[in-house]
C-alpha cells in the first residue's frame, strides 16, 4: 500500500488545528487516506484522536486547516453533510435513544424518511452478512454495550460509506467475531472503501491496517507501516517512553476462599435481560479470576448481583469471607470489605456533574468513615480525594472539578483508586481498561495484581481477552447467563475461550459451556 504517484487520496487533512479552552487538542495535523486503505489512528487518551475524527465527521469545526475529499476542498458543516459526502462513523460512546427500538434508532441516524419495513429487512440482512446479529424490534435500553455498538456499526454500513471511521470497534467482540469483522473490513477495503481505524489493540492494528498515523499530545508524530513495527514499538511511539509489562508473580494457590457464589440464579427484571442460571465460582485471596464473555450474556446481571444492586432471594448464594450476603444491599457488603468498579464510568461509577470530592464520598463514605452523625466530613473527603488523585496519578486540575471533565482513562484511574484505597478484601472490576490508553491500562493492571498479592480476591469481568490473559490466574466464561468452570491459564487457550464465548451465539452448541471438566 505505498502511496501511488498520481493517485488521489480519498481524504486528506492539512494542518488541522483545534483549540479548546486551555488546551490545543489538534496542532497542525496532516493525514492522508487512499481509497481502499485501512488507516490506523494511534495515540493515548487525550492525544487528540477523538477531536480529529469529530472534525472529519463534522461534529466539530476545525479552527484552521483544510479537509480535502477526493481532490476537492470541502467544508463539513455537520454530521449530516458528512454522511452525504460519504463518511460514516462508529462512535466509541454511543448516541442512541434508550427508549426506542433498534430500527427506530437506525432510522433516526439516516437522512430522510424511512420505510420501516424495508429498513428492518435491510438491518437484518446487513447485520447477518457482517456477523453482527441484531433484533430490530428490541428496545435499546435492554441491550448490552456490545449490542449497542452493533447498532452503530450496522447504521453506518447501511449508508454505504466511502470512508468509515471506527472508534475502537472490537473492544466488545469475541476474537472470532472480531476476526469476522476484520474480514468485513477487508472486504469493504477491497471494494474501495477507506477505513480510519482507532484502536488501542496494537496486535489488531498490525494485523488489519495498511498505514498508521500516530498522535501524541495533539501533535502529529509520524506515519508508519504497522506491519513493519512491533506492538511494543508502536506503543512506545504512542506514549513516548518505554513500556513495562505488568509484573505477575506466581501466587500462592492456597489462599482461603473470600468470595463464594453457589447456585446463583436471578431472573432478569427487564424485558430481554439475561437470566442468571445456577452460577458457581470461588475466588481465593491472592487470586485474580477473569470472567470472559461477549457483552449481553449476563455480565450486567451478574455484576449487579455481586455488588448488591440486585439482591437474591437466598442469602447463602453469595458469601463474602464466610458471611452470607445474598440479601444485603451494596453498603452492607462494602462494610464487609467488598469494592466494586462498574462498567460505565460516567453515570454508574461516578456522578458526571459532581466534583471529584463528592465522587470520592459516593462509594467511600462508609469504609473511609467520612460521616459524622449524618453530616459529611468535608475535610476528610477532600483528603481522601487528594489521596486518590496523588497515588493513582489522576491528571486533573483539581479535586473540585467535575468527574466528566476528566478523560476516560483518568476517571477510570480515579474510580479504581477510590475502590483500592478502601482496602477491599474482595474487589470486583468490570472492564477495567475499556477505552483507556495503554499507559493507564498498564497502571490499572499492576494495581489489581498488587492488590491480589496483598491477599485480596480480585474478580475481573472483561471482553478483552488479552487483558484477561495478562492478569488473571484463572478464567471462566459467561454465556447466556451460565458460567463455565474456571480454568487455570495454562490449561486453556484463547481459541477455546473464544468458542465458549461464542458457544451460544450460533457458532456451536451451548451444551459444552457449563460442564467443562
Amino acid at each position: 500500500m505505498n502511496e501511488t504517484e498520481g493517485a488521489v487520496p480519498q481524504l486528506e487533512l492539512r494542518g488541522i488545528t483545534k483549540a479548546y479552552p486551555g488546551c490545543l487538542a489538534n496542532d497542525h495535523i496532516d493525514l492522508k487516506i487512499m481509497p481502499g486503505e485501512i488507516h490506523a489512528l494511534l495515540g493515548e487518551n487525550g492525544a487528540g484522536k477523538s477531536t480529529l475524527v469529530k472534525i472529519i465527521y463534522g461534529v466539530l469545526q476545525a479552527d484552521d486547516g483544510d479537509i480535502i475529499w477526493a481532490g476537492t476542498p470541502v467544508a463539513i458543516a455537520n454530521p449530516h453533510s458528512a454522511r452525504k459526502t460519504g463518511i460514516g462513523m462508529v462512535f466509541q460512546h454511543f448516541s442512541l435513544f434508550e427508549a426506542m427500538t433498534v430500527t427506530e434508532n437506525i432510522a433516526l441516524g439516516m437522512s430522510g424518511r424511512q420505510d420501516m419495513k424495508v429498513l428492518e429487512r435491510d438491518i437484518v440482512q446487513v447485520s447477518n452478512s457482517y456477523g453482527l446479529p441484531l433484533e430490530p424490534n428490541r428496545q435499546v435500553h435492554t441491550l448490552s454495550v456490545g449490542e449497542k455498538q452493533r447498532i452503530e456499526i450496522v447504521r453506518c454500513l447501511l449508508q454505504k460509506p466511502k470512508l468509515l471511521i471506527m472508534d475502537e470497534p472490537t473492544s466488545v467482540l469475541t476474537p472470532q467475531e472480531a476476526e469476522k469483522m476484520f474480514e468485513t473490513l477487508r472486504r469493504l477495503s477491497d471494494e474501495g472503501v477507506s477505513i480510519l481505524y482507532i484502536s488501542h489493540k496494537l496486535d489488531e492494528i498490525k494485523a488489519l491496517c495498511h498505514k498508521a498515523t500516530i498522535l501524541r499530545g495533539g501533535k502529529y508524530i509520524s506515519e508508519c507501516d504497522p506491519t513493519q513495527e512491533t506492538a511494543k514499538s508502536l506503543a512506545e511511539m504512542m506514549i513516548g517512553t518505554n513500556l513495562q509489562a505488568p509484573e505477575h508473580h506466581e501466587t500462592s494457590k492456597g489462599g482461603r476462599v473470600r468470595l463464594k457464589v453457589r447456585n446463583l440464579s436471578i431472573d432478569a427484571d427487564v424485558e430481554f435481560g439475561i437470566n442468571l442460571s445456577a452460577i458457581n465460582f470461588d475466588v481465593r485471596g491472592g487470586e485474580i479470576l477473569g470472567i470472559a464473555g461477549v457483552a449481553g450474556n449476563g455480565q450486567i446481571e451478574l455484576l449487579a448481583a455481586l455488588s448488591g444492586e440486585t439482591t437474591s432471594r437466598d442469602a447463602e448464594t453469595i458469601t463474602l469471607d464466610d458471611k452470607a450476603v445474598g440479601q444485603l444491599g451494596p453498603n452492607s457488603r462494602r462494610d464487609l470489605g467488598l469494592a466494586f468498579v462498574p462498567e460505565d464510568r460516567l453515570g454508574h461509577g461516578s456522578v458526571p456533574e459532581m466534583m471529584l470530592t463528592e465522587n470520592a464520598f459516593l462509594s467511600g463514605f462508609r469504609r473511609m468513615s467520612l460521616l459524622n452523625g449524618g453530616f459529611i466530613n468535608n475535610g476528610g473527603t477532600s483528603d481522601y480525594a487528594s489521596d486518590i488523585v496523588q497515588k493513582f496519578d489522576v491528571r486533573t486540575p483539581g479535586i473540585y472539578h467535575t468527574a466528566n471533565s476528566l478523560s476516560g482513562g483518568n476517571l477510570q484511574k480515579f474510580i479504581v483508586g477510590r475502590e483500592v484505597l478502601q482496602k477491599p478484601n474482595v474487589i470486583i472490576v468490570a472492564h477495567p481498561t475499556w477505552g483507556v490508553d495503554a499507559g493507564a491500562a498498564a497502571f490499572i493492571h499492576q494495581t489489581l495484581i498488587d492488590l491480589a498479592e496483598n491477599g485480596a480476591a480480585v474478580l475481573v469481568v472483561s471482553q478483552d481477552l488479552d487483558e484477561l490473559f495478562a492478569i488473571s490466574d484463572r478464567i471462566a466464561v459467561i454465556a447466556e447467563g451460565r458460567l463455565s468452570v474456571g480454568r487455570e491459564l495454562s490449561e486453556i487457550t484463547i481459541e477455546e475461550i473464544g468458542l465458549l464465548m461464542g458457544g451460544t451465539q450460533g457458532m456451536g452448541e451451548a451444551g459444552g459451556v457449563s460442564d467443562v471438566a
Binding site: A75, P330, G349, E353, M354, F375
Partner: protein, 358 residues
Amino acid sequence: MLLKIEKRAEYSKSMVYLTPVIALVLTVLTSIVLFESLGVNPIEALYQFFIAPLDTEYEFSELFVKATPLILCAIGLSVGFRANVWNIGAEGQLTMGAIAGSSLFIYFPETDSIFLLPAMIIMGALGGAAWAAIPAFFKTRFNANEILTSLMLVYVALLLLSLLIHGPWRDPAGFNFPESQTFSDSADMPILIPGTRMHFGTLLALLAVFGAWIMMARTLIGFQVKVIGEAPRAGGYAGFSQKKIIWFTLLFAGALSGIAGLSEVSGPIDQVVPSISPGYGFTAIIVAFLGRLHPVGIFFAGLLMALTYLGGETAQINLGLPVAVTGVFQGMVLFFLLACDVLVHYRFRLNIARKATS
C-alpha cells in the same frame, strides 16, 4: 460571521448565578414593550411594579407576608427537583395543610391552650405530607408520573376545601358567607412586628431556608438527593434507594407546603375561606428555579416573586392594568430563565468565516 452554540467542557459556575439576572433583565425589557403596547408609560409602570410597593415600612413588611408561603413551598419543591421528583402539586399540599391544621380550631374553637397553634402547625405539616404521600405511593408502587398525579390532586384538594367551607365549616353566624369563623388568638400566628401583618410563619420560612441549606450541603440525605437526581444508577451503586428518596422528597415538600397553607389561614387570612392562595404553590415552582434550587437563592427569589404580587396590585390600582399582568410577569421570568439556562452548559461563539485556501 456566524453565531455558534458550543458545549462547554465543564458547566459554567458563574453562569449558574448570572442567568437569573439575565432573565430578569430580559423580562424587564420585554415588559417595556408590553406596557408600551398597553398604552402605559413603561417607566411609570415599572416604578409602580417594583418601587412603589416598597415605599413604606408597612408595605415592605407585606413583601415578607407574601414571600413566606412562596419560600416555604419552593424550599420543599427544590429538594424534590434536585432528585428529579417533579412535584408540581404544592398548591394542593398547601390547601390540605390549611384544612388539616385549621380543623383543630374548627372542632375545638373554645380551646385557649398555648399548644393549639403548635399542634395546628404540626397538623398542617402532616396534612400536606399526607397529600404528597399519594403521588409518592403511586410513583414508587406503579411508576405513575408524579407530575400528573400531584397536579390532579391540586384540584381535588381545592374542591374538598370548597365542600367544607360551603358545608360543615361555614360560620353559623356568618350570614351564610362561605367562610369559617375567624380564628381565636390562640389559633393565630403571632405577629412579629406590631402594626404589620408579618407573622411567625416568616420565621418558619427562614428556618426552612437555613435547614434545607445545611441538609443539602452537609448531610448524607442531601447528598443522596443530589446523586439520585443526577445519576440514579450511581445512586444504586452507592446503595442509595431511589424509592426512599422519592418518598422523602415528596413528604418533605408536602410538609413544608402544608405549613405554608396553615400559616396563611392562621396568619394574614385569619379564617378559612374558599380561596386560600393566589397560586403560591404554582409560583413556588418559578421561585425554586429562579433561586437555582438553592435555599439562599430561593429566599431572594421568593422576595422578588412576592414583589410581583404586590406590584401587580399597585399597578392594578394606580394604572388600571389587568390583574393578569402579574401572571404574565411571572411567566416571562420563568420562560427567560429556562431559555438562558442553555448558557450554563453551552456558550455562544462568533465564528468568523474563513476562506478555504489551497
